[in-house]
Symmetry: C2
Subunit: 258 residues, 2 copies
Amino acid sequence: MKEKPLILITNDDGVNAKGLIELTECLRDLGDLVVFAPDKPQSGMSSSLTSLNPIKYRLLKQEAGLAVYSCTGTPVDCVKLAMNDLLDSKPDLLVSGINHGSNMAVCVHYSGTMGAAIEGCILGIPSMGISLTTHSPHADFSECCRIGRKLARRLLREGLPAGTYLNLNVPTTPQVKGIKVCRQADGRFVNEYMRSENALGEAVFWLTGSFEEAKPIRPDNDMLALNSGYASLVPCKIDVTDYAFMDKLKAMMCDERD
Amino acid sequence: MKEKPLILITNDDGVNAKGLIELTECLRDLGDLVVFAPDKPQSGMSSSLTSLNPIKYRLLKQEAGLAVYSCTGTPVDCVKLAMNDLLDSKPDLLVSGINHGSNMAVCVHYSGTMGAAIEGCILGIPSMGISLTTHSPHADFSECCRIGRKLARRLLREGLPAGTYLNLNVPTTPQVKGIKVCRQADGRFVNEYMRSENALGEAVFWLTGSFEEAKPIRPDNDMLALNSGYASLVPCKIDVTDYAFMDKLKAMMCDERD
């Protein structure tokens, strides 16, 4: 570990979210911190980019070992802009979170928190997203901070393989039993919309829904770990190629029936 | 193949984009088509969801074998809302595109076109994204349509494994040499922002940049195929778990040094 590692912190709930503020506090003594986060909530923004409009950022706070910036862009914009315009050296660690709400299972695809972690990983920074399994703005983040800090220390010491990032989810139980290294649970959301009406009498749809795990349930998945009172830690890959299917697909493409 | 398969078509360039219109034409005789696409450009929206605002959709056109809807949401919203509110049966195929612009390499993470294909796959539909490697609104999509149609026929006949979707990119060369089944190229964008000023004299940043492939270059990747005049076809997985790193990560988490 360097004497003063550089840690980049971001999230998708915005720079004023309790989860980000508590995360920043608990990592404070581990290095020089740069917080570069959206100026407004950006939940469910995945790895989206702002391409048709310009983005801006501004310094909110600067003190010894900590600088806080807000940015008009998405979580991925934040990571990209911090890396392209602000930072002189590559951070030793990127932590995105602590998200208000779970990002287990397929939520890794929808989450802005995880979008930022994916971007950090693409840019060569050991990166992880941290999420607490409640959307409450006033949630108790203490256990989550304890576990996240422990993991941050290990990542600063050992790094991660190129192209691999981490998805940490922590349950709201007062005493988390430990961290389980897991695979991503398989499933989908169902009953995803509440139908309503606007003032013009038009049908409008609000996103809602519940997660339904696919059967048969695969052992060692993140949902099982969380439901048993453990924090789940899924190592994830930037390379989404389905290598196991490549040969079959090649054969399928050689079929000359049409 | 069923006598009249149901094909769901969407994109991220919007319901009026040439790529979507030409795709729809070329798939017309393969089944009953439902086009359900964003009412405005949604490029770079990845798998983002609209969670804080309601969304709406409306029928634009209905004729024998074809219904066209526009939706106020993102590409993923389009797929979810079509599946939750409109369609009585699960489509036999989802095709997202044809995107105006390449979605090779890590662009699979940023692309709204691919976000829709990912969502279709999560919801159990054989799904693919198709992209042409030019952003021109007036591009010639004929080769791309020919190849996309061929692939669509095969997917209708053979389906895809659960949890696997396809990323097809087609170069703009007049005669594409064929389709190469590839892995995702490894790399990142560099020089990602053009700094400018707004009317208030504030610094603003416009997304730009160029793709830099990671060294050593991995053989059989999609970028190499495209540069050699082939269409690239990458099979991709919803499950992003890095299985190869799980044991090492478990060992790392058992280290009790702190």
